[in-house]
Subunit: 196 residues, 2 copies
């Protein structure tokens, strides 16, 4: 358990919120909650980037480098693992969980789906595998009683032992911030040794 640091630990706030029509406002709300909990929230869209006049792949390069620099400056991350356009979470967020893990920074995670990975993958298959997808009926479905691919789920559990999900019939609203708030409680415990 760490002693209270001299300044606010920085948390990189990873998730598909950056694709919301109100992405900036969504980031402000998350950052305000982080501030209230004693942290400085770092949101991918915080960077004011000069993209005008750049070709699309060059714009992407500027954004990618800015986000990586933001991650390197962070003490930890909270990642939204909610299913995104398929069985699994947003691939960019998965990349970011791996990035932070390699740097040895704790990642706190939440999902608004209460279903294990296996149940979601079976539902996907039952809907019919789209052309070009790597899945086939013979392909193994991970069955470790986890919420996400084990490489991700285990990292998050190692940080605090939980992936926060809706419990026992709670509303399955993909845009709920309840899991995020619970992650902040866990992050407080990690960084400050405080329970609330």
């Amino acid at each position: 358990m760490a002693t209270a640091p001299r300044h606010r630990p920085k948390l990189y706030l990873a998730g598909p919120e950056v694709f919301l029509p109100n992405a900036i406002e969504a980031g402000r709300i998350k950052c305000a909650l982080a501030t209230k909990a004693g942290f400085e929230g770092l949101y991918p869209l915080d960077n004011v980037l000069e993209l005008a006049g750049l070709a699309k792949p060059d714009q992407a390069t500027v954004i990618s480098r800015a986000n990586e620099a933001l991650m390197r400056s962070a003490d930890g991350a909270i990642a939204n693992l909610t299913p995104f356009r398929g069985v699994s979470m947003d691939a960019g967020t998965a990349f970011e969980v791996g990035f932070m893990q390699a740097l040895g920074r704790p990642v706190f995670g939440y999902s608004t789906s209460a279903l294990h990975y296996r149940a979601r993958a079976e539902a996907f298959r039952n809907r019919g595998i789209p052309p070009g997808d790597y899945d086939t009926p013979a392909l193994d479905i991970e069955d470790f009683e986890l919420h996400e691919n084990l490489m991700i789920d285990i990292v998050v559990r190692a940080a605090q032992g939980v992936v926060v999900t809706p419990r026992d019939g709670a509303t399955d609203d993909p845009h709920s911030l309840d899991g995020f708030k619970t992650c902040l409680v866990h992050a407080r415990q990690h960084f400050f040794g405080a329970k609330a």
Copy 2:
């Protein structure tokens, strides 16, 4: 351009092949191709792990730690970015691309889908968004003329400037190894300064 190293550079071979019914054989084939190209292939299932008697989440922990150690021992990676159970690539592979990028190791990538991310995300939405998915009709679809989420695509392009995909009506077989072989050519160029 690097001079020829004294020993075979190690390449971590990331992708959803680990879920194939013949996962071990699929890894052997990739490792043999890597060996032929002058590398040592590291395949996630190479680890002989003691899982017997462990609860499922504990098995996952052992696998996760072994794969991370394998990545830390690697000089670079080749990642299969083919769509997996949704619009994007396998989340575990995305995690691994981020992990290697944070360590500063080059990642070479291929996908057997010739479609840009945008086209695949639109097709997903047209099939009907499943319950519990974060996607909504108002959510932005990345449009950077890239094949995968920009955090991943840009990293791969930075390694060698390409994400290998089928060209101009080539067969869209998710299990083709053509892209993998082209990545080996790029990896040779990177590590040995050789063209073939």
